[in-house]
Amino acid sequence: MTALLEVRDLRVGYGHVEAVRGVSFSVSAGEVVALIGPNGAGKSSTLNAIGGLVRPASGSVKLEGRELAGLPSHAVVAAGLILVPEGRAILHRMTVLENLIAGAEARPWPGGRGEARAAVETQVRRFPSLQRRLDQPAGALSGGEQQMLAIARGVLGRPRILLLDEPSMGLAPLLVRQIFEIIEEINKDGTTILLVEQNARMALQTAQNAYVLERGEIALHGPAADLAKDPRLQAAYLGGDVA
């Protein structure tokens, strides 16, 4: 079976800094793959290069066999690869509803405008805290609500694959749990997910397969359940006690 997303030998540099040094991995249709690693490991650089926000120095990014590396971000989005970046990048001056509509306008809907509207309503029902604040500027939302808006907006782009960059960053434990539940729910609805996290424990519980990135290179990879038991990983990221 061929992978949905196939990344080969990806390299990303900023001037003299080599942030990603020959990373390869793949994501199969329907699964959640976690990409974990310490601060500065190159996780965001990898996602941003895949999403067309930074130009990779070299390497290949194939979505369903189609080469995306080097394409501008709008072409990458059009192909169905949707990124929810670190820092969320919601539009603070627009209302919550406008953010959602803009998300649904990222790619055309086969059923046209009516289907897009219905999809927006579905997402609004999934996130009751957004529903109450549809007409408020998105900048007025709390951090957790902004993250939910960013995820909802990403889903509305009808992703073939959804890339989430540290969705739990800066959130209280209760919200973190909620966010991971939502990620599982979205995946059950049929969306393939590539999840970047520093919260390795939660990420490994949610993902089927995982890769550990260290200093720009894949240090470990395998089924998430195996990695969660791996002594090297336990010592480094999981504080030694994995349930």
Partner: protein, 291 residues
């Protein structure tokens, strides 16, 4: 009094129309397009040339507006796009747009000469209409009507359409726009088209109103346009509309009650006072935009 209000609204509508396009590009790029007044001038000449070739003003005007939009796209390619991504693009864009403005003026000088050009006799039906205690020409009323209609269309476009949302997204954060699948370069080009078409429309209406077009006609609105967008709040379209009408009214009342030599002095004094009270202008935003 009624006459003065009418005259103020008339002049103000042209200022406002000029300024909405000016402020739109500022909102999207954070750069002042100093060639906006040159587009104003070129569109006026384009419409004039078309009427001289026998076209009705009702055909020459839309074509002149279209020409303004196309010139805007050329301007963006020449003066702004090559500089995009440079850390000093704000100041270098200012200078390169000034350079393009100079080139546009030189072209107009070459094509139309330095003297004042006028629309052919009978371009616009000469009729006067009484409104309350005041009177206005049909031309003046049409100018106000066309300006207001164009500004209403722009407001609707920005608030309610996909392109409008994309323009606002790029204005707030090009990075966030990219994530939403927006082709940022294309949206910027379209914003220049819209901005310059509106600036061109203002030029054509100005040319008709005073029946006088010359290569330096843009000078008469250049500084006022800047005052209007500062007064309204840089980047704010509704702010530019309000400030444009306000400036028109202030000018007309100053001329009537203080004297015409004080016109600009009082206008800029008002700008000064408003900026002391509201440093970001009437509807200016507090938040700086993201990279």
């Amino acid at each position: 009094m009624a006459q003065q209000i009418l005259n103020g609204v008339f002049v103000g509508s042209i200022y406002a129309l000029f300024a909405v396009g000016y402020t739109l590009v500022f909102g999207v790029l954070d750069i002042l397009n100093l060639a906006h007044a040159a587009v104003f001038m070129l569109s006026a000449f384009a419409a004039l040339a078309l009427t001289e070739h026998g076209l009705s003003i009702w055909i020459a005007m839309p074509l002149g507006i279209l020409a303004g939009g196309v010139i805007g796209i050329v301007l963006e390619r020449l003066a702004f796009r090559p500089l995009r991504g440079r850390s000093d693009s704000n100041i270098s864009g200012l200078i390169s747009s000034l350079a393009v403005a100079t080139v546009f003026e030189a072209i107009a000088l070459q094509l139309f000469g330095p003297d004042i050009s006028r629309f052919p006799q009978g371009t616009f039906p000469d009729r006067t209409i009484a409104i309350g205690g005041a009177s206005a020409s049909l031309l003046q009323l049409c100018i106000v009507g066309i300006s207001v209609a164009l500004m209403a269309v722009l407001t609707f476009l920005l608030a309610r359409t996909r392109l409008g949302r994309r323009i606002r997204a790029v204005a707030e954060s090009p990075r966030a726009a990219r994530i939403l699948g927006v082709d940022v370069d294309k949206v910027i080009a379209l914003a220049f088209f819209i901005s310059s078409a509106l600036g061109g429309a203002a030029g054509i209406l100005f040319g008709l109103a005073f029946n006088s077009i010359s290569p330096d006609v843009g000078r008469s609105v250049e500084l006022k346009g800047l005052a209007v967008i500062i007064l309204g709040g840089m980047g704010s379209v509704p702010g530019a509309v309000i400030a444009g009408f306000a400036l028109g009214l202030i000018e007309v009342f100053t001329v009537a009650h203080v004297g015409s030599s004080y016109r600009d002095a009082i206008s800029f004094a008002v700008l000064f006072i408003v900026l002391i009270a509201r440093p970001r202008g009437l509807l200016g935003r507090a938040a700086a935009r993201e990279a």
